[in-house]
Amino acid sequence: MARLDYYFRETAAGLRRNGTVAFAAMSTAFIALFLFGLALLIAREFDLVIEAWTGNVQVAIYLDDPVRTDTVERLTEQLGQLSAVSEVSYEDKDAACARFIELFRNQPAITDNVECEEVIPASLRVNLADASQYEQIPAALGCAPDDAGEVVCSAPGVRAVADYRELLDRLVAITRVLSIGVLSIAVIMLGSAIALVANTLRMGMFARRKEIGIMRLVGATNWRIRVPFLIEGFIEAFLGAIAAVFALFLVKVVFIDRLRGEIEFIPLIRNSDVIAVAPWILIAAAVVAVIAGTIGMRRFLDV
């Protein structure tokens, strides 16, 4: 008990003494962790869009109603034999509807006005082993553009073939550019946050070098000397992390929630997505604190 009290007092004294520098470290940690979370949320948003628009497959073959079991079996086998195809799976109407409702759970304007069972068709969902040999698929199903330019298929039970290769490629590319871009900035900022936290610790140790000298002389262990500084680093990083999570919620409320209902057929991130990102931000904050502690205290504490 006496020990906890000691650590608490030492840490509080350290934060007070170093107020401005600690604030700089904290705000840098905040910005870094905010950008880190933002990158994760951007990736999540595009995952949702990709899921909604393509169902994460490169090719969808929509089937005529009512779907006959033997049609599904026959087409699955036929497609499975093509060298371009790596995977075929069947999504029935119920599953398609469930996915649709889940994606647009927060946009009742969409789910309420769409009669799912009528509009959403069952489909065979195909991933390609070799995207450049896509043409094998419409050829096998006897699909060709008609006079009006619409693709019609002669294979029985097939309504249409949707080629999502390009869309998927583009969405993935945009996701990559955006989230990797933001993530790179976040990494640089995390680096500065580490440097600044390490620096506050170092300045704190410098300000207390006489005390530390005496502590060593009277036989205080290294951990006894270090722990208050380590706690200080953790507090700075975690305050930054908490502020970052709040800021992400704010972004969600101010920017994302306004779009809800305005933009059709784009699923948007929800509170649960922000909450899912929070642990990663806390882990990143812990990493910042640990690295900063290791760097900041190395030089000062050789016996």
């Binding site: 006496a2 005390e211 005496i214």
Partner: protein, 225 residues
């Protein structure tokens, strides 16, 4: 209690501070280490605290070979050794009581031990009425008494004093020596580096003289030169 065997210490810059020193100090002894500046007195003290490593030879303190003490056990060695310096090394923002209790607090002693021992030792060094004075409210001699109290509060086996009277006038120095003698009388081994001739001559204790890192004289009941 303390044993040096063929101890040589050469610093990285090539300076040899101690050169083949052999020295045995028994439990309860009072030993002056004398010699001009740069003769190796401070290096000797730093070696005993394991603030420096020997280049050659062996150092034993309280029966332990220092070279075998791992870095993370060094604090436990230092808990058995009290240290006093010329410049007192007191924390200016702490009272006498707090300066002494700090030494116990940072080695994890419980509060009831601190509350009992700190006033006791401050009384012992003659500062029973100055528990709440800050260092700048105390005279040099009183500040050195606080530092001796801090060095002794954890009941060390050995007290190392590096020029403890260096900043004090002759009369105050005599008081401090009386106090160190008193600490010695209760069984603490005292090793004091000094070049205060008057004091060494007056005390008539064992004198070890260093010159350019070599032990040139070891005399019981000796004088400065």
């Amino acid at each position: 209690m303390i044993s040096l065997q063929h101890v040589t210490k050469t610093y990285k810059n090539g300076v040899t501070a101690l050169d083949g020193v052999d020295l045995e100090i028994q439990k309860g002894e009072f030993v002056f280490v004398v010699g001009p500046s740069g003769s190796g007195k401070s290096t000797l003290i730093r070696l005993l605290l394991k603030e420096e490593e020997v280049t050659k030879g062996q150092v034993y303190v309280a029966g332990k070979a220092l070279e075998k003490i791992t870095p993370w056990k060094v604090p436990h060695l230092r808990r058995n050794i009290g240290t006093v310096f010329q410049d007192y090394k007191l924390l200016q923002d702490k009272t006498s009581f707090e300066n002494v209790s700090f030494a116990l607090e940072v080695i994890g002693k419980p509060k009831h031990v601190i509350d009992q021992r700190v006033p006791e030792i401050l009384d012992y060094v003659g500062l029973g009425d100055k528990l709440n004075s800050y260092p700048d409210e105390l005279s040099g001699g009183e500040q050195q008494r606080v530092s001796i109290a801090r060095a002794c509060v954890n009941r060390p086996l050995v007290l190392l004093a590096d020029e403890p009277t260096g900043n004090l006038d002759p009369n105050t120095s005599v008081d401090i020596m009386r106090l160190l003698d008193k600490v010695n009388k209760i069984g603490t081994t005292v090793v004091m580096a000094t070049h205060d001739q008057a004091i060494v001559d007056a005390m008539r204790k064992r004198v070890v003289e260093l010159e350019q890192g070599k032990l040139v004289r070891d005399q019981s009941r000796g004088v400065y030169s």
